[in-house]
Symmetry: C2
């Protein structure tokens, strides 16, 4: 099926094996650049870094020590391409921007697509932002200021203004001629949009289709009307959903009046998908955002709150244990065994919880199938509860030579694993329902429930039947 | 900066507000289809489903009950587009394929790009696969069989064979003429590849660039030589890395001799990115893969192993507690407080662990900056350890009116939070080093460490100083 025009010759049996390519930067490169900077060999550092792809240069900057970063920027001088900034982690980006001349920023910003330019200046502090904006030509400043007026994480922020919109009366030939004459098209684009006289998009033509159509054909004859437009206020998470769901490479953004004002491209969406996935993962563990490059104190502060909440839940569990001090004093074996029930509940509940949080984020779980999901999880919890009841019961019986303690841990295990399944499913669904991000709060609520119920069921049953 | 040719008129102040679009399927639609199927109104169900985008129809099938899915397939009959299968979850896909006629599959498979065709048949069981392949024309069968011969999750599996490769002697005009004449190009593509006489790619031209260049210009004059080729055996995770790192929309795939054999496009990569992110998230919680649509017993079995491992670690913690039975018998307050230290260690360690697992997966953490990362995490653990030592110490002192128990919980807290940071950082780095997926095993190892050290430090210090 491969499209291979003639002039091909693949009879070279003596052809050398091609080495598998390696991408990204090597630890050796980082070391070499670092050494060159430390010993003042600026030219050597520049030569090592100058040929790198912008994304790799960004990785190199992130890998260097804090004091080496401005040195490398200085060594690169005018060769430093601002696009590198779009690949940098927020905290490193700020450092790098501080090391750059505002004039350099302003003059290079014009070469970027508007979405990249916004990406760079939106994270600057107020004062730096004003300085950079003031140094820009008025037309560009206005475009950027308008983009910045949209809420963070909205389509208005991530779209690029540069796009190709043509009137519905045009033919393929006219469009090609227009493209050849125009000097101000976006760097790369994949679809062209057809607009009506009100500048509302009525369809799109993928470039590959336009290119293989003869010149006299009208664009409206080959356009795809089944188009997914993005309202300018749509949240970026929603934008990512639309791209992912319909396998888009680009989509038109429309304002409140339905007029075409920009385009979102898939490369931005890949970043968003990464960000959202990372957020869910980190939030479940109580980390606000990637803090790989943050300072120790910032990281400590950000994690403190979550740990404090966890301390309260741990104390709540202790309060439950304290209810049974008399029982524990008489049968110390209970103190030895009690963490098992709580820990198994926490782990089983986390399994359910994680599946639910991910499925909600991917929109595979909603009110339509919530009941079925909860029912299934309870069954899974019950079956696993029964199996682990047997295992834990036998272990406890054998260990302390008390059949009764085996029966009690078994009963507590079934109760806690069913409760764990129920709360692992209901907590994220409930939080989503009331508008709280399930990834943030679910696991604290869950482990509180499984600890409290775990200790209460085990020690409570023991108090009832062993004393 | 927007490219807007004339013929625009945006003075319509009376223009109605455009309703924000909603994408995806609604619970109401699922209910309507379900009711139509249940009461035998096949035509109604077909009408409701027929106009849906393939991705939405896939969601609809996933949302239906198990017995309704084949009914809907039957209702849709010949209208059922096989592309829907590429959007389905594995377990649902198998059900749907079973409900389809092998002939229908074989005849529709030819309309798909080769990567989608492979995607569909690779998950069928051996017998169904053979039946479908046997029904295909020989040329297509051979292409698919070759693709299937590459390891799962390799570039050879996810690439499409259809692409546009042109010799280096061609001009833009010749290429456009060739595209207009050719009937067998891929559906959509974004780059065209220039190959040398050995069919090795030497550069690429984005379609948008080709289209705005005048006909007599040679492709080699406008091609981009800075090209990221994908070796056919490259793992899909690596492919996703290359796309993400360099913001690609498509990349050429080469065989061992460096010849162009296919292309990977960004829509496939978005799926891979989702899959990999999901895997990391679920594995950390001990879930093998999305089991939202799996049967209860499959889910129970898949989660059992992880819980069994956790039972061993919980028993290990109990063994540590058992060492201090005498101490616990004398001071029952210790039993009340001991879960606090263990739980805080587990939570703090999980924070570090999650950051490390994500950073390793995103290649932000490696041998180059591992030492700095571990150092920073220890510091964070120490600072948070000291703060929570104060909080927990005061709580314990006030609760049991024993200053000594406050001091002991404080000391144990510092020890456990530093150990948690150290193991949260070292466990995933070590597992990665020895070739074990850090997402799978890290959290079990970590919680074992924090439980054991937590109980040992707290009860051990109490035994030393309180008895």
């Amino acid at each position: 099926m491969s499209q291979t025009p003639p002039e091909r010759d693949d009879t070279d049996a003596w052809l050398p094996e091609v080495q598998p390519e390696t991408y990204g930067i090597s630890p050796e490169l980082v070391r070499s650049v670092s050494e060159a900077l430390e010993s003042g060999r600026q030219a050597e550092a520049r030569d090592l870094a100058a040929e790198l792809h912008e994304a790799d240069l960004a990785d190199l900057l992130e890998s260097l020590d804090r004091d080496e970063r401005p040195q490398l920027i200085e060594a690169l001088g005018g060769d430093f391409d601002l696009e590198v900034l779009t690949y940098l982690d927020d905290s490193v980006r700020e450092e790098v921007v501080e090391a750059l001349e505002p004039k350099h920023i302003a003059s290079s910003l014009s070469d970027l697509n508007s979405d990249d330019a916004v990406d760079i200046i939106e994270d600057l502090d107020e004062e730096a932002q004003q300085r950079v904006l003031a140094a820009l030509p008025q037309a560009e400043r206005m475009v950027l200021e308008e983009s910045l007026s949209f809420p963070e994480d909205s389509a208005g922020r991530i779209m690029q203004r540069e796009l190709l919109a043509v009137p519905s009366s045009w033919t393929v030939g006219e469009t090609i001629d227009y493209m050849r004459a125009s000097k101000d098209l976006p760097d790369d684009f994949y679809d062209l949009y057809i607009v009506d006289p009100k500048h509302q998009p009525i369809g799109y033509v993928p470039l590959s289709r336009a290119m293989r159509t003869r010149r006299p054909v009208l664009l409206t004859e080959i356009m795809n009307e089944d188009m997914r437009t993005i309202p300018i206020h749509m949240d970026q998470e929603e934008v990512a959903y639309v791209f992912r769901q319909y396998g888009l490479v680009s989509a038109p953004v429309v304002d409140d009046a339905g007029r075409l004002v920009g385009a979102v491209t898939v490369d931005d969406v890949v970043h968003i998908i990464d960000e959202e996935a990372e957020e869910d993962l980190l939030k479940l563990a109580g980390v606000q955002e990637t803090d790989l490059y943050s300072a120790v104190l910032d990281t400590t502060k950000a994690r403190f709150t979550w740990l404090l909440v966890n301390l309260f839940t741990a104390v709540a569990a202790s309060v439950v244990i304290a209810l049974f001090e008399d029982t524990l004093e008489r049968i110390v074996a209970l103190a030895v065994l009690m963490p098992i029930v709580a820990s198994m509940g926490g782990n089983a509940g986390t399994q359910t919880l994680t599946v639910a949080v991910r499925a909600i984020a991917m929109r595979d779980l909603g009110s339509g199938n919530a009941l079925r999901f909860v029912g299934k999880e309870i069954l899974v919890g019950l079956v696993n509860g029964l199996m682990f009841a047997v295992v834990a019961g036998v272990v406890a019986w054998a260990w302390f030579d008390m059949p009764s303690i085996g029966l009690i841990i078994a009963a507590a295990m079934v109760i806690n694993l069913v409760v764990a399944a129920l709360s692992g499913a209901l907590v994220p669904l409930g939080l989503e329902k009331v508008g709280v991000d399930p990834a943030v709060a679910s696991s604290v609520v869950l482990t509180t429930v499984t600890d409290v119920i775990g200790f209460f069921a085990f020690l409570g049953l023991a108090t009832l039947f062993l004393l």
